[in-house]
């Protein structure tokens, strides 16, 4: 493939997943590509549950959204990248569909803090992708955890306008149970901060 440099081709554009994706992307009759529980026997980290909700610009639940998550394990390591995780069955990838009330649940481990390629330390976070009818291209954000001092110095969160950061921080709802609530507001005055890299 040693060809001379050429003009960069136009990438294939995104389209909505539409309303009829679940029989393929989140099938009930076979293992899906990623599922709502990331827990495996060898997953490193504290078990947590994310109880999410997706709301539209009217504050109405979005019943047909697809959520994808990507995260490091409890030691801050990404599957497929950090050699130390090789052999672990923890994939770091989750998928969940919303119910009629716009709710979704992800069971996983709390990610550790991640050190990036520039040696900066990120606060524990889970990358979140939102797909759905009326969403032309995946909306991307990060879920952070409350009471993490590292949130203040996180290289991504700290660059977001301070009065909007709370839209990216989950709320702890159960003490010992480690349950977190996270509401994704697609539109409106308290709209979730969506990111683009």
């Amino acid at each position: 493939m040693s060809e001379p440099p050429r003009e960069r081709p136009v990438i294939t554009p995104s389209q909505t997943v539409g309303p009829f994706f679940s029989f393929c992307l989140a099938p009930r009759d076979r293992p899906g590509i990623g599922c709502a529980s990331l827990i495996t026997p060898d997953a490193v980290g504290t078990r947590i549950t994310i109880e999410g909700k997706v709301l539209d610009g009217n504050g109405a639940p979005v019943p047909d959204a697809l959520i994808e998550t990507w995260q490091a394990d409890g030691d801050g390591r990404y599957a497929g990248f950090h050699r130390a995780v090789a052999g672990s069955s923890f994939t770091g990838f989750g998928r969940a569909t919303c119910d009629a009330d716009g709710r979704f649940t992800i069971e996983t481990v709390k990610p550790g803090s991640v050190v990036d390629l520039e040696n900066r330390r990120h606060a524990p976070h889970i990358a979140i992708g939102v797909f759905g009818k009326g969403i032309n291209r995946r909306l991307y954000t990060r879920l952070y955890f409350p009471d993490e001092p590292a949130n203040d110095t996180d290289p991504v969160l700290s660059c977001v306008e301070s009065n909007r950061r709370s839209s990216m921080i989950a709320r702890q709802t159960g003490g010992a149970e480690r349950r977190y609530a996270f509401t994704i507001r697609l539109q409106g005055v308290d709209e979730t901060v969506f990111l683009e890299a």
Binding site: I11, P13, S14, Q15, V17, C24, G129
Partner: protein, 240 residues
């Protein structure tokens, strides 16, 4: 994998995508963020992502006409193409998830209430992996056009949904493949959310060389994912 295998992503490439809000695609009206999307430099979280191999495939995932007892009704077609990055290099071992309506324009999905028959021999869901050169191929039935429920005389052209991951969170793509010459394309509110310069990327081409005589017409649909290998890795044409 290590740092030197991570792809590079230019922000300019994003111009090919639709904006979140579209006047004519009304379902965006209350679901599109109206505040500016916050631009950030990609970090390790965005530059990595999940990958899947043959372990997620079942028999006949690449032949949607052979997943049931009998043969589905409709025009049998082959869809094939190459998944490449922005340098034109094949993206090997890449999972593609595929879903579509049947020949009558009806999805095997409980929410689809269009008054057209279901086909007991067609589910319309498949998976394929790209080969070492990024090539893929699957067999299916040409999906029918269908009306959008609740809207006045709005029709979707025949299309196949495709979902791909590529090397990272930034190459993730969900798109739709359309058929050449379809008169509904000009009026489709979803196809036309994409900017004019990138729309044609989503229209397949008749591929006479891949057509199987007395069996099935073939359509070629090449997919360009965002990102490119770092310069040091471009010669090899594939990942290690």
């Amino acid at each position: 994998m290590d740092e030197s295998t991570l792809f590079e992503y230019a922000p300019e490439s994003l111009a090919a995508h639709p904006a979140p809000y579209s006047e004519s695609y009304r379902f965006t009206h209350k679901r599109a963020p109206l505040r500016p999307i916050h631009a950030m430099a990609p970090t390790i979280t965005e530059l990595t992502g999940p990958s899947f191999g043959a372990e997620v495939l079942n028999a006949h995932d690449d032949d949607l006409t052979r997943q049931h007892e009998g043969e589905p009704i409709g025009e049998r077609i082959i869809v094939c193409g190459q998944v490449v990055d922005e340098e034109g290099c094949g993206v090997p071992g890449n999972l593609i998830e595929i879903w579509q309506a049947n020949a009558a324009g009806r999805y095997a999905h409980e929410v689809d209430t269009h008054d057209a028959p279901l086909d007991p021999n067609f589910t319309g869901s498949g998976r394929v992996l790209t080969d070492a050169e990024g090539r893929y191929r699957f067999t299916t039935i040409k999906p029918g056009a269908y009306p959008v429920g609740g809207l006045d005389n709005v029709w979707r052209p025949s299309h196949i949904h495709l979902s791909l991951f590529g090397p990272s969170m930034l190459s993730r793509l969900v798109t739709q493949m359309y058929f050449p010459g379809d008169p509904l394309l000009a009026f489709d509110t979803i196809l036309n959310t994409a900017p004019a310069h990138s729309r044609d990327r989503m229209v397949a081409a008749l591929d006479r060389s891949a057509t199987q005589s007395e069996w099935a017409i073939a359509y070629r649909f090449d997919i360009v994912l965002r990102g490119r290998r770092p310069a040091s890795r471009r010669q090899s044409g594939r990942d290690v």
